[in-house]
């Protein structure tokens, strides 16, 4: 096993006087990439060789030889943090906004840091946000759910009522219809957080909406649509087909990852519409109306409509089609070294289970199957992994998912041929990450 301090890493810090003349020229010419990264990342690592020199070259790793303070002092007591927080060393992995994307933070988006997450569950505090008129922390005792329209008995439920009903817990992804929307025409953002981070996956707990509509005597024969409405200022509304409700999939949910929903995600009640874009998962859910035609609401007649070449807009696009992305190595990252790496990423489909993910390291000329990690669930994120030995040469990484309907995630070329580049919504193209010789990974597009 190599001693990490001596490992010949590509970004291993070097003292300034080790620079070759060529490298100095590169820096002087304004190439402020891996060289500077190397110096700045050096801080901690620089200490190691120095300490080793002091300890006598070859004696070993000071992280072992010099006991750290956590091994030689008393730690903090229980319940120091009554609600536990991530390590201070994880402070970089937070929700972030994309500068310039929106002008009003009350009607905006914050993105999930997919580049650093493991498995399939999104920590609740990192779940992406999309608000249409700001968010509130709604008093659960003053929150009500009303059922009206084509039902035998129009009804009102308190949270107490809803939480007494039989509940189910299910893991599903939620993706904004505009996820990857900034990239329709060309590369626009540097990292997977901004390109794909309007994507999260949680275990949701709640009551199948069908159970509640059954209680109210819904007219399933004529009432083929429901309207879901939020209690926030925008009272966001979307139309959802009754077929989905009848399947038992649509939930009136109050739980998320074992606790109540977070306020930013709709506390105390939101709709869960598996496989369908996030805008239909109405937050702070206050009302369900049963009706016999779609409502043509603002978010299905002005926004969340997909413009096609020729200027026609597709209305009521809802399903999130099969898609995948490599989350690491990904844009904005730099590989520590050549040699072994695990290519890891996420795949999902609004039409059911992922059956296969293939990975290419040559920009899509040749592919090999990745491993799908358990659990593989319908309309949930699926984690894939693929062994890779990087030889230090430039390459382009891609992933391509296939779902249980046989649908294969399309390339940019295929997608643009049909939908052009002005759709904004529903970009599920194969993502490419270019690894350069420096180990830097950048966002690129391949047809």
């Amino acid at each position: 096993m190599t001693n990490p301090a001596f490992r010949p890493g590509r970004i291993r810090p070097a003292p300034e006087n080790f620079l070759s003349e060529e490298q100095i020229k590169a820096v002087a010419a304004g190439r402020r990439d891996f060289l500077r990264s190397a110096f700045l990342a050096a801080g901690a690592a620089m200490a190691a060789p120095a300490a080793m020199a002091a300890a006598g070259r070859g004696a070993g790793d000071p992280a072992i030889l010099e006991l750290p303070e956590w091994s030689t002092s008393l730690g903090k007591p229980v319940a120091t943090n009554p609600y536990g927080q991530p390590s201070k060393y994880e402070a970089g992995l937070v929700r972030r906004q994309s500068p310039g994307l929106t002008r009003v933070p009350g009607s905006s988006v914050s993105f999930t840091p997919l580049q650093g997450l493991f498995g399939i569950i999104t920590p609740s505090g990192l779940h992406f946000e999309r608000h249409h008129q700001g968010w509130h922390d709604v008093d659960p005792n003053r929150h009500r759910l009303m059922i009206n329209g084509m039902v035998k008995t129009e009804a009102v439920y308190t949270m107490d009522d809803l939480m007494r009903l039989p509940s189910v817990s299910r893991i599903h992804f939620i993706e904004c219809g505009a996820n990857t929307g900034m990239e329709w025409g060309n590369v626009a953002v540097p990292t997977v957080q901004y390109s794909h981070g309007m994507l999260s996956c949680s275990e949701f707990t709640g009551v199948p909406l069908k159970l509640i509509l059954d209680m109210c005597g819904a007219d399933y024969k004529k009432g083929r649509y429901i309207l879901a409405e939020g209690a926030d200022g925008s009272s966001m509304t979307r139309t959802i087909p009754m077929e989905m409700v009848e399947s038992g999939e649509v939930l009136v949910a109050y739980g998320q990852n074992g606790e109540m929903l977070r306020p930013e995600n709709g506390y105390p009640l939101r709709l869960v519409v598996p496989g369908v874009q996030g805008v239909s998962w109405v937050k702070w859910l206050r009302r369900i109306e049963v009706g016999d035609m779609p409502w043509g609401t603002k978010d299905e007649a002005v926004h969340y409509i997909d413009m096609m070449p020729g200027g026609l807009h597709r209305q009521y696009t809802s399903i999130q089609e099969c898609k995948s992305v490599i989350t690491s190595p990904s844009g904005g990252q730099i590989l520590l070294d050549k040699g072994f790496h695990n290519i890891t990423g996420l795949a999902w489909s609004g039409r059911g289970k992922i059956v296969r993910v293939d990975v290419s390291t040559d920009g899509g000329i040749n592919w090999k199957p990745a491993r799908l990690e358990e659990p593989v669930l319908s309309k949930a994120l699926t984690r894939f992994n693929c062994d890779w030995v990087w030889d230090g040469k430039p390459c382009i990484l891609q992933s391509r998912a296939v779902d249980e309907t046989g649908y294969v995630q399309p390339s940019y070329g295929q997608l643009r041929k049909v939908r052009g580049t002005a759709s904004i919504y529903h970009n599920n193209a194969i993502q490419s990450w270019k690894v350069s010789e420096s180990g830097e990974v950048g966002n690129v597009q391949v047809l």
């Binding site: 008995t153 043509g296 696009t317 990252q333 590989l335 294969v408």
Partner: protein, 357 residues
């Protein structure tokens, strides 16, 4: 209370959804809604105008309301691109005749405005009534919604200057909406029944077909786009957006990595409360600290008024009651959403120099 006939109830019962008596399966849970409750919340208006309240409003009424309540964000003519994307623009008399907005097909218009896209006038009525104005949603009367919508439609030259919008004339307006024929539901992304079975989509048939080729899939890699150099720095320092341990690090893209987080001096909490209130209550949507957005930058305001003997009272009055003409034609609406304590905190923060803490 129930909106449909006995026949429909009978149909529902024969459909076998097991709700012969509502609430039977789960005694003690839920209760019938009262008619007043349903009326209070059932505010949606459908494309067939089901749910449309009666009322009326003229273009002239709408203009007055617009300048008081809407222009500060949307511009006097609904054209502003400062706070939200423009509402008005990009439509023509020809579009009104054809029901298809030509600029959408041809491009060339810088933004897709609301009026270029929206196919149904009901959508605008419904949305204004439920969500506008931005800081005081659901505060407009039905007549005010009619008037504001009449004015918007006039700005888009869909209705004449002497038009009165009401529950009858709105149906005529629908026949003049510039993009009324601009939508299609013939796609595979609707999860319900296809049009052939009474639904609206194509039954879920995808529009793009890839195949899972595994080797020698194409002769060469066609790289068509890469992140422009200038865009690398636009999202902050990527080194700080990645983990400090693991197989990768983030790239250093902006500035120098701080060796140690600088000790942040504790801002005076009262001053900070004013800044926080200005941020939370949407003031910064229209005023930058240094720059004009819709209204003047806060520092400009301070510079002009700081030396008045009654500066605090003057600024508090302007915040509470709004104003116009001091900084330009766009009026500032009264900020009734602010409590007295918030107004006081904002004024103190302004007079302290209007800095971000």
């Amino acid at each position: 209370m129930s909106r449909f006939s006995k026949t429909l109830v009978a149909l529902a019962l024969t459909a076998g959804m097991g709700a012969a008596t509502a609430f039977e399966g789960y005694p003690g849970i839920g209760r019938p809604a009262t008619p007043a409750e349903v009326q209070a919340w059932d505010i949606d208006v459908r494309p067939d105008f089901k749910g449309l309240p009666s009322g009326r409003g003229t273009v002239a009424d709408g203009e007055v309301l617009w300048e008081a309540k809407c222009a500060s964000c949307h511009g006097i003519f609904g054209e502003s691109n400062e706070v939200f994307t423009p509402l008005i623009g990009g439509t023509t008399q020809e579009d009104i005749r054809t029901g298809r907005v030509r600029a959408l097909a041809e491009g060339g218009f810088p933004q897709r405005t609301t009026m270029m896209k929206v196919p149904t006038v009901s959508t605008l009525f419904d949305y204004i009534r439920r969500a506008m104005p931005w800081t005081a949603p659901k505060s407009l009367s039905d007549d005010e919604v009619y008037a504001l919508l009449a004015y918007m439609l006039h700005l888009a030259e869909v209705v004449p200057a002497d038009f009165e919008l009401n529950e009858r004339t709105i149906r005529e307006v629908q026949e003049r909406m510039p993009n009324r024929n601009g939508m299609t539901t013939d796609h595979g992304m609707w999860p319900g029944a296809p049009a052939s079975q009474g639904g609206i989509g194509n039954g879920g048939v995808p529009d793009v077909r890839n195949v899972a080729c595994m080797s020698d899939c194409k002769p060469a890699v066609e790289l068509v786009s890469a992140l422009p150099e200038y865009a690398r720095d636009a999202h902050g320092n990527l080194a700080e957006q990645n983990r400090v341990v693991g197989p990768v690090r983030g790239q250093q893209t902006v500035g120098e990595a701080p060796a140690v987080a600088p000790a942040v001096a504790e801002a005076d909490s009262a001053i900070k409360a004013g800044y926080d209130a200005a941020r939370a209550k949407g003031c910064l949507a229209c005023h930058g600290l240094d720059n004009r957005v819709v209204g003047p930058g806060f520092k400009e305001v301070v510079a002009r008024h700081r030396d008045r003997a009654d500066a605090a009272a003057y600024l508090a009055g302007k915040i509470r009651s709004g104003g116009s003409g001091v900084w330009g034609a766009v009026p500032m609406p009264p900020q009734g959403q602010l409590t007295d304590a918030e107004v006081e905190a904002i004024v103190n923060w302004l007079l302290s120099g209007a800095k971000a803490p």
